[in-house]
Structure formats: C-alpha cells, structure tokens
C-alpha cells in the first residue's frame, strides 16, 4: 500500500497535520526539483552543470 491509498482518517492517525492535500508536496520529483541551487541535485541544476561540462568537453574535441 502506498501513501496515496490512505484516506484522510489514516493520514490523521499518523500525524494530525497530514491531510490528503499534503501528499501533493510529498512528491519525490517535486522534492528534488526544489533543490535547484548551484551544484544541487534538481534536474534544472543538473542540466546547467551538464551544459557547462559538455561545452568544456566539446572544446577538447569530443562529440557528445
């Protein structure tokens, strides 16, 4: 069973602050996407880092 299969009562039984809409922010993709700081793990940050690295490697003559 996953969290999304729990109803409101089940969630409240875990913690009174938990509600079905709380699950919206428990999404893993949303979680990691929020950490888009420089050097961070978010896809957006990874894309930026990749662009920098790819440019460096292309300048060295590599095809990517």
């Amino acid at each position: 069973m996953t969290l999304r299969e729990l109803d409101a009562a089940d969630l409240r039984a875990v913690d009174e602050k938990l509600a079905p809409q709380t699950l919206e922010v428990l999404d893993a993709a949303r979680n990691v996407a929020a950490r888009q700081l420089t050097g961070g793990p978010a896809p957006a940050a990874v894309e930026r880092e990749l662009a920098r690295l790819e440019a460096e490697l292309r300048a060295l003559g590599f095809e990517l």
Binding site: K17, E24, V25, R30, N31, V32, A34, P41, V46, L53
Partner: protein, 401 residues
C-alpha cells in the same frame, strides 16, 4: 673482464666483472626498457646540440641520430634483443649504436652523465604518461556526462551513512564522479607542467665545462627550459611522486564508483545491472553475475597508494645529489601509471553499458515517499517554498522542525 664482454656503465676503472648476484640486483633493464623511446629522443637532441655547439661534427650527429632511430626500431621489433649484462636501457641503446655506426657512437656521451640522462628520460616518460592519462580521464568524463544527460531527471535515493537521506537525481550522482575526475585531471596537468624542466646538461651532479647549450636541448625535447640547479636536477623525483599521487587519488575516486556499482548491482539494491563484458560468472553457482571489474576498481588503489608510499620512502633522507636508491623510484611510478591507465581504460565501456533499473518501484516511488515523509522538516516545508536556511516555511525553527 673477458675481452668483448659488455662492461655496462662501469667504465675502464674495473678489471673484473661484477658479482652475478650484485649484477642482478643492480640491473634495471627489466623495467627501464620502457624508457627506450624517451632515451633515443633525448640522445638525438643531445647529439644535435653537440653538433651545433661544435663539440662533434655534423656528420657524426647525423650518424648518431639516424643510428639511434634504427636501434629503437630493432629493439622495438625484437630484432635486437636487450642484454641484461648491460644493466639498463641506456647502455643497451648506446652499445648497439656503437656497434652500428662505430666511432661517432662513442662521441654521443660527450658532456653527459647517465645521471642527467636518466633524469631526462624519466621526465620525458612521466610527462607523456601524464598527458595520456589526462586524455583517458577525458574519455571517462565523456561517458559519465552522456549517462548523466540521460538521467538528469531520474530520481534516486541519496545517502549519508549508507542510509537513505534525501532525494537526488541519478544525473547528479554520476556528475559527482565527473567532478572528482576533473580534479584528477587538474592534478596531472599541473604535475606535467612542473615536470617540464630539462635536467639534461646537469651531468653527474655538477654540469660540465664544455660549452653545451642546455636551452637548446630543453627546447628540442619540448621542455619549458633547463632546470636551475644541477644537484637538484639529477636527484629530484618530485615529479614522479606527484604523478604517482595523482594516479593514487584518481584510483581512490574510481574505487568509490566501483564500490557503489558493487552495491547497486546486488539483488538487495537492484539499482543497476552491469554489462556482461564487465562481469564474471561461476561454474558452481550459475546464477552468479559477479561484478569483478567494479571490485577491481575498488581494489586497485591499494597498490597505487603503496607506490606513492614507496616513492616517498625511497626519496626520504637521500643526501644530495644522485644515489642509486633513485633507481627504485622507477617501478612505483610505472606501476601507479599502469594501474591508473588500466582502471581508466575500462571506465567508458563500463559506464556506457550500465543498465539502470529506473522503473524499479523502490528506486523511484515507494522509497522516495518514505524518505520525504521522514525528513526532518514538516511536510509543508517540502513544497520547495523554503526561502531562508534558518527557519522552515511552517515557521518552526529548523532545529525544532
């Protein structure tokens, strides 16, 4: 010494041959043979300089330069076998040159000692090897970069204490290794640059009174210039220690990747399946798919670290200038380079053929929710709404959240 028997580098001082056990201990041909190309190159530059300085004739220099190329070809193709009685590659090359071109060959060693000759050859070798490793590192970075591009959005667990900690992306994880390799690259480039000073002309320890042109040989051999102190030049092996250390740290970085691949490819993790070309099986347990190559990446640093320790220990406490102890610095340098080269050689293929199990529920969904739920911050704080590090968006101080 019987007439016609090679004398190695002993000169005319000795009437008898070296004790066989002593000669065996003294010999380095079994490992310094890899300096052949560099020795020939160094000698050719030296001969050209001697001619330009008027110390030998242009005809002699031509005979030497041409003859050395032929000697190298003969040795490389196995046409001329190396003779252990001649101690090292330098004496093997020179002896064969004299056999081949006669009297001009005897003039090659004018204004030169084996001490500055060996130091020059070793630097040429080390610089070449360092740059080859840099290229190998770049190929590995390309492989990591490609896989990171494919998985920039793939979610995976990030760990601390090997316990699931926060959500990261696989691309981010792979780029961590690209970062390590970038630093390794920088260390090798830096070490190569520092090794680019030519010891040639420093003689045994105190140069020569002959009017040689050290700047000319340095330029001919691609060095930035001649070294500034003859005593240091013949006895310095810092460049070897630096390159060996760069190799050891590189191997340490690859060992971390090796360890992760070993873990990730277990049934327990199940994050990745290694390419068949990088696994072994078992005749007794046919279900096995052993991550041998990843394990070797993990194990290789052991010897590379040992090489660094050997190099430093051999160099420690040596009085100036040259001492025979320095001969013992060659094998650790070669081994560290070979170890790093072998590990880097497998990396692009290993990384290219990794099959990440991105659809596996524990990787992408169930576990992610669990660690989201268990994070120290209140659920509302995980929306990405944080604007300050000192407090969570729900208003609770971070230390209490």
């Amino acid at each position: 010494m019987p007439e016609g028997k090679p004398s190695g580098g002993r000169g005319a001082r000795f009437a008898g041959a070296m004790d066989p056990a002593a000669a065996a201990l003294n010999a380095s041909i079994h490992f310094d043979r890899r300096l052949l190309r560099d020795d020939v190159r160094g000698s050719q530059a030296h001969a050209r300089m001697l001619a330009a300085a008027g110390l030998i004739t242009a005809d002699d220099a031509e005979a030497i330069v041409t003859g050395l190329s032929r000697v190298a070809e003969e040795i490389e193709t196995g046409k001329h076998p190396l003779d252990a009685a001649l101690e090292d590659i330098h004496m093997n090359v020179e002896t064969r040159l004299i056999q081949m071109v006669g009297e001009p060959g005897r003039r090659l060693h004018t204004a030169r000692s084996r001490n500055d000759q060996v130091a020059t050859d070793l630097r040429l070798y080390a610089r070449r090897a360092a740059l080859e490793l840099v290229s190998a590192i770049d190929r590995a970075r390309v492989a990591l970069c490609r896989r990171a591009r494919q998985h920039a959005h793939t979610i995976m667990p990030g760990y601390t204490h090997l316990q699931r900690a926060q959500v990261v992306t696989l691309g981010h994880h792979l780029l961590a290794y690209a970062e390590m390799l970038d630093r390794d690259r920088g260390r090798l480039v830096d070490a190569e640059r520092r090794a680019a000073a030519s010891p040639l002309g420093s003689g045994a320890l105190a140069g020569t009174s002959l009017p040689i042109d050290r700047a000319a040989t340095a330029a001919d051999l691609g060095f930035a210039g001649p070294t500034h102190n003859s005593l240091d030049a013949v006895s310095d092996r810092d460049f070897a220690a630096e390159i060996a250390f760069a190799c050891a740290l590189l191997a340490v970085h690859l060992s971390r990747l090796g360890e992760e691949l070993v873990l990730w490819s277990t049934t327990e993790f199940g994050f990745v399946r290694l390419g068949e070309g990088y696994c072994s099986g078992s005749s007794l347990m046919p279900q096995k798919r052993n991550p041998d190559i990843a394990e070797l990446l993990r194990g290789k640093p052991g010897r590379a670290i040992g090489d660094v320790v050997a190099l430093l220990t051999i160099s420690k406490g040596l009085a100036l200038a040259y001492n025979k102890d320095l001969q013992e610095t060659q094998e650790p340098l070669y081994d560290a380079i070979d170890t790093a080269r072998a590990a880097l050689a497998v990396l692009p293929g290993l990384v290219d053929t990794l099959e990440f199990d991105v659809a596996r529920p524990p990787v992408t969904r169930r576990w992610a929710r669990r660690i989201s739920l268990r994070s120290s911050c209140a659920p509302a704080c995980r929306s990405g709404a944080h604007t300050r590090s000192s407090a969570s968006s729900c208003g609770a101080p971070r230390r209490r959240a």
